[in-house]
Symmetry: C2
Subunit: 659 residues, 2 copies
Amino acid sequence: MRTRTGFRSVLAAGVLLAGTASPAGAQSMRDVQQAAEARGLTTADLLAAAKTFTPTGMKDEYIIFSSGGHSGQVFVIGVPSMRLLRTIAVFTPEPWQGWGYGVGEEILADGDVNGQPNRWGDTHHPALSETNGDYDGQFLFINDKANARVAVIDLRDFETKQIVKNPLIINDHGGTFVTPNTEYVIEGAQYSTPWAQEYAPIHEYREKYKGSVTMWKFDREKGRIDESQSFAIELPPYWQDLSDAGKLVSDGYMFLNSINTELATGGIENKKPPFEAGVSMNATDYLHIIDWHKAEKVYKAGKTMEVNGFPVIPLNVVIEEGLLYLTPEPRSPHGVDVTPKGDFLVVAGKLDPHVTVYSFAKIKDAIANQTFSGKDDFGVPVLDFDSVVEAQVEVGLGPLHTQFGPDGYAYTSLFLDSAVARWTLGGPYASGHSEPDWTLVHKTPVHYNVGHIGAAEGDTVSPDGKYLVSYNKWSVDRFFPTGPLLPQNFQLIDISKQGSEMPVIYDMPIGVGEPHYAQIIKADKLDPWTVYPEIGWDPQTQAVDPWAPRPKMERVERKDDHTVEVYMTAVRSHFTPEHVVVKEGDKVIWRITNIERAVDATHGFCVPQFDINLSLEPGETATFEFIADEPGTYPYYCTEFCSALHLEMMGYFLVEPRE
Amino acid sequence: MRTRTGFRSVLAAGVLLAGTASPAGAQSMRDVQQAAEARGLTTADLLAAAKTFTPTGMKDEYIIFSSGGHSGQVFVIGVPSMRLLRTIAVFTPEPWQGWGYGVGEEILADGDVNGQPNRWGDTHHPALSETNGDYDGQFLFINDKANARVAVIDLRDFETKQIVKNPLIINDHGGTFVTPNTEYVIEGAQYSTPWAQEYAPIHEYREKYKGSVTMWKFDREKGRIDESQSFAIELPPYWQDLSDAGKLVSDGYMFLNSINTELATGGIENKKPPFEAGVSMNATDYLHIIDWHKAEKVYKAGKTMEVNGFPVIPLNVVIEEGLLYLTPEPRSPHGVDVTPKGDFLVVAGKLDPHVTVYSFAKIKDAIANQTFSGKDDFGVPVLDFDSVVEAQVEVGLGPLHTQFGPDGYAYTSLFLDSAVARWTLGGPYASGHSEPDWTLVHKTPVHYNVGHIGAAEGDTVSPDGKYLVSYNKWSVDRFFPTGPLLPQNFQLIDISKQGSEMPVIYDMPIGVGEPHYAQIIKADKLDPWTVYPEIGWDPQTQAVDPWAPRPKMERVERKDDHTVEVYMTAVRSHFTPEHVVVKEGDKVIWRITNIERAVDATHGFCVPQFDINLSLEPGETATFEFIADEPGTYPYYCTEFCSALHLEMMGYFLVEPRE
């Protein structure tokens, strides 16, 4: 439908928009200018538009997987169009996807805390599965800070397959991050609590409150975390914050930073320093350096204690076995980010205007040579800061999180400056850029209050450059106001040119949820199904369900005096059967298959009065059960507009009163 | 930050992009062309980009309020940027907004069906409040097809204030629509069921299954539906479908179309015609013409019966009092849409390639003259089709829904053609356009399967033209695939030029929910608050809460042996108090105020293990209660990234075991 008048011949002609004598196509460029002018756009705006506008049918080059913050979900966004392509329901029930409204309940219930249903989450850090330190496009992991849970999403169908609840901790933050071949999904703790959130008064903080990191073993074949092969490492009761796994030369190590090495316990109501002050008293906090290869061996050797049924390497063993070393880091740090070659770690501390770069080689040397400046209060050796630091680069106020380009550039978000800094790495990265090593190159203002940033494949062994997204927390005046609750603002930044050219080219409001972090993958690494492989597919097992209803086998079958099984199919534009009659009090086991094979031929299926709504993608089968406890006349219908006769795609569920 | 190099001077120069001799600014246009070419964009694409790209800080000109389909929510979208500015939680709990996770439970519970919580909805037709038939920007109404509920949203803060459950019916469709001064919010039924969803076997359909329309009285002062002043009108057991209220000359009337005038009851499993065939057997269905002014008088005169505690004008009274007339309409109709001057009604029937235009003047005459072609099976007089029809215009396959422009154009969605038709009105609209009256002018292809369409203010007394959005149900190949579940596709169409120029200028994926209908209002008609008017504001009452915690009055107060009240404030970056200690089994009444006055200074507040998460906008106060039934150590924290020390904005909720 779209006319594809190329520009090349027009540019070759050398003269454009030259009034009445202009060549074919030139009139259109004049139209472009006039349309832009009518809306008050500048040439810079139009350039940004040319870089981001994505006409009908054109596919995005990159895909962002973004945490949804306290929406509990994950967002899938295209780059450069910055359009929300899909929400993935994870910790919060979502009826469009049928998640928690007839299917998914068992997975959600696996995340229950003390047997209590907790039907929301605070998703923070998504992690794409990796092979050799590079995204492989197979799985996505995401943590729930609020309840210390981790979810597994299968990127064949973009659906949540597993939720595991951490049995030790009640909230997390430093996760999820994966080891370079996705051997483990890492979940660091946050606000210290007693193991298994037992009660302990606040004055027993030092003795009873705990720090930890949990190593969830991932079984790639099964696409599930194997809880029976997972373990945790006890850490001092600091508040572990972000973490990253080593890669290449640093493979086998992981790095966690921390806040509240002061062990502050707050108490503003009693004239004590509030947490915001108490946890920032020391000039430095501690970077945790952990040898997870060795920890895995220690766990397998059984040198663990059991806490709430879960194996934990206790802190004394951690120290004895040399699994953990600390080193000072700028206070109130947020990100610790490993450079593409695995050779440096960059730590940004919110209350220090520098990024601090550590050399992994120097860390190894310091450990080997026991170059300690002392021990912390819990007996953990502290590596001498000067012996492990490589560089400190002053980047601006409130540095938070760092990502990398392919050309020796690093990018750091500046919360207080509301800016993204570009600066140079040194060492083996020096040849990528023309500026001096370890030097600030440029700052691009963003709007406003940037937390994390994401560069295209910017935390892998091979960053792509080209695009960077600033995940801004506040939008203030950027968009038309939608009441007192405003969206966040994802700003797309063009980082394809070196030096100081690094413009914002798109503002994307996030109109639900508060994203924390996101990863950006090249779209061609993903290979999603567009219909399920076979009719009768159960997405929860990723296999054909032998019980799946099939055409000509539809029926309503009474099993016994109080149990009825329904076998139903859905196809444009009818359900078979159209009448389902049961008796009051019956247990109803309802199986339904969408027998469509056409892409996008999704059917919804609802029995609203029993809180059921399914999203049945082509080939999908689902089973749900309920007690028909209230006699009545209940229409069921297709909730996904599927055809011209979609409104007619319905039936009656009749619950006869028992005498 | 953005350079504002205008185009005017450049255009005045008459020559652009003319190689090295080009004037200032020309180089940038060459950059625009090159950037576009690099991505394979055409001039037409770039023109579309110039019309839609909305740089940082530029506000949208129009706002779309879109139903969220079976997500149960409402979406707020900017035009022409087509960016999702905000989701409004309505029927489905949503933790980012704190909806149903500590606040909103009472409102959600008002929508319970038979005392059963139904925590999702299938939102269909949003209706903006009107004054004199024009949007006034004050309120938004939305129905839930799945459970026959209506919600009221206050556009000062874009939050849901009320949900009413229809006591008569179990599903609806022809709603919400408002009368020209929002006297009533109209909710038409859909799939017939016995009153109050009582049980009746399907063979008693004709006798016991009912049709209806409910008139919810709106109290604009209170911003609430007044259930005590509301009533319903019994209709034949057809499936009432879309509806529209008359305006100007037709004020006082409303129009509902219907399907299944065949009274088909399905039964494909018993070799009976499935619903999709059974409800489309007749060549015509019935347009319902209802005099609601007169119905209001009949209701006030008490000529009603009571059904499930709700007043209903029974069908025999409806007929006797002359409240209802029918007239044939093309079979399987969807939209009935009243022209801007209130003088014509346009009906589109999915199985007839025409739109059928009725003259309201002729309808009035036919009623006055009793020009009946007979009565329907239930004794309702049927107006002679030929005496009330004004025109039939062949527009294409699967016409669904019609909107209007300011220039005598009408626009109709064509589901089967996947196109939007532009055609001309006649009569007093003839002078607006240059084409013959009642004639198809143009069809623009859309992708794919368009349901409703929305033109800017296109169903009011003064349509704006300029933009039309095609709410397409399928996207198929338009976007990078996100697994088998694909987004819907909103396509923005530029209707600013007359004749056959009507291009698609933006594709917006809808990555959650399945929108049905949307209204598009001029943004400057909205006047939302950006902070709540005063500190201690309760959004549920839209007034200051006298119990709202205030600075220096924070405390934890034990009321009796088993009740504790918490008075807490939130401000960047701490809660006061930071320790809340209660005893196992205590009832905790927790009040919290966000004392910020800065725009966008929202704080979240969660106590995750008790399923609590609030979104506290500047000034907002909230109260929630729970039983502290499990001893333990529970961090609470701010879930909305608010400041550099946001992570430190936390406290400990300690539940001491009782002996």
